[in-house]
């Protein structure tokens, strides 16, 4: 019997019907059923590890979704992301540069939502001044590579994600290689210096770039399509930046990361980018948001 049939039968056998809080019924593949089926798949493919392999977990989740059965861990993504969109997310590849304040929170959201393939680069190590806002910075991860903490976190949060950490600063040449095969680039860099290069390379790769920056209680998020003008064209690479004076407090950083993630997920789902040719500017001190067309 072909393996896929066996897997599909296993999924159908282990699925249960759940009633949502609104009364709608849906078929759900329980969390532990995904693990069991992935272990079985791994054994068939010659893996002997007790921990299911990330590829096997992703296969089980994809097969379930194709049968119209939602893996329990994605149950509350519904109906923000349809079955077809959840499948697209699992098949997407995101390339992120920067795993600090913005990057750590974006990574957390993308991994939890179920983006299947994420590569992320940061050559930096954690220091105590990162503790105020950086999700991946803990007493335990201090002095360690941000990329290593990111890999450990993704494994803990959603091992079905195929995560590729790169503990290096990328120059423009490395950026070009890093973006190959990605559907979308995330600019989670700190400072202005490297942002124009990333914008150029995303354009060369022909993929959208979702970018953001904060200073104090203010910040912005923007989407730049290949060839279009972006915030880094306006701010330049060597201006004195406001965060050097105002710092980077957690609310603005997390807000920017959440807005970035929502836009990244929109785009990966195949929807129109909402922030094309625009910046969403916010100020949490005055609680104001404004969309600025560039």
């Amino acid at each position: 019997m072909p393996l896929s049939l066996t897997l599909n039968e296993g999924i159908r056998a282990l699925a249960r019907v759940d009633t949502r809080p609104d009364g709608c019924q849906c078929q759900v593949l329980p969390y532990f059923a995904v693990l069991d089926l992935a272990r079985g798949l791994g054994r068939n493919q010659g893996h002997s590890k007790a921990q299911p392999h990330s590829k096997a977990m992703a296969s089980v989740e994809l097969s379930a979704l194709e049968l119209g059965i939602i893996p329990e861990r994605y149950q509350r993504n519904s109906t923000a992301y349809s079955f077809a969109e959840q499948i697209r997310l699992l098949q997407s590849r995101v390339a992120m540069v920067g795993l600090g304040g913005l990057g750590g929170h974006v990574l957390e959201i993308l991994a939890r939502t179920g983006v299947g393939h994420i590569c992320a680069a940061d050559g930096d190590e954690f220091q105590p001044s990162n503790l105020n806002r950086q999700l991946l910075c803990t007493r335990r991860s201090l002095s360690g590579y941000k990329a290593a903490a990111a890999a450990a976190r993704v494994q803990l949060v959603n091992p079905a994600v195929d995560f590729e950490p790169v503990a290096a600063y990328l120059d423009e040449e490395l950026m070009e290689r890093f973006l190959k095969g990605a559907n979308l680039a995330v600019d989670a860099l700190g400072g202005l210096k490297d942002r124009p290069a990333l914008l150029r390379q995303a354009a060369r790769a022909g993929i959208p770039l979702v970018t953001a920056a904060v200073a104090g209680q203010a910040g912005y998020v923007a989407t730049v399509l290949p060839g279009a003008i972006g915030p880094s064209d306006i701010f330049g690479a060597d201006s004195e930046t406001a965060e050097n004076t105002l710092g980077t407090p957690a609310p603005a950083v997390v807000m920017a990361a959440a807005l970035m993630s929502a836009e990244v997920l929109n785009i990966l789902c195949g929807r129109e980018p909402r922030l094309t040719g625009a910046m969403l500017v916010f100020d949490l001190e005055g609680m104001s948001f404004e969309r600025v067309s560039l």
Partner: protein, 75 residues
């Protein structure tokens, strides 16, 4: 003629007391307004009027919402 002014981040220190209805002269430009507020041009990177990015020589009209933004790069 009056405009409303929003100064972001480090520029907020230049916010005038009457920012919600700030009197402007006929023919005054966005850049001229920023200069009148004392904002150093090197610190002013992005000007927007009514949600659209403009150059400093953009003229102001009664009721415009003016946003002034410095270089921001924190992450």
């Amino acid at each position: 003629m009056h405009v409303s002014i929003k100064c972001f981040a480090t520029l907020s220190r230049f916010t005038p007391p009457e920012a919600e209805a700030f009197a402007i002269a006929p023919g005054e430009t966005a850049g001229g307004l920023a200069q009148r507020l004392g904002i150093p041009m090197a610190e002013l990177k992005l000007i927007f009027i009514n949600g659209a990015h403009v150059e400093p020589d953009a003229p102001l009209a009664d009721g415009d919402r003016v946003g002034l933004f410095p270089a921001v790069g924190g992450g």
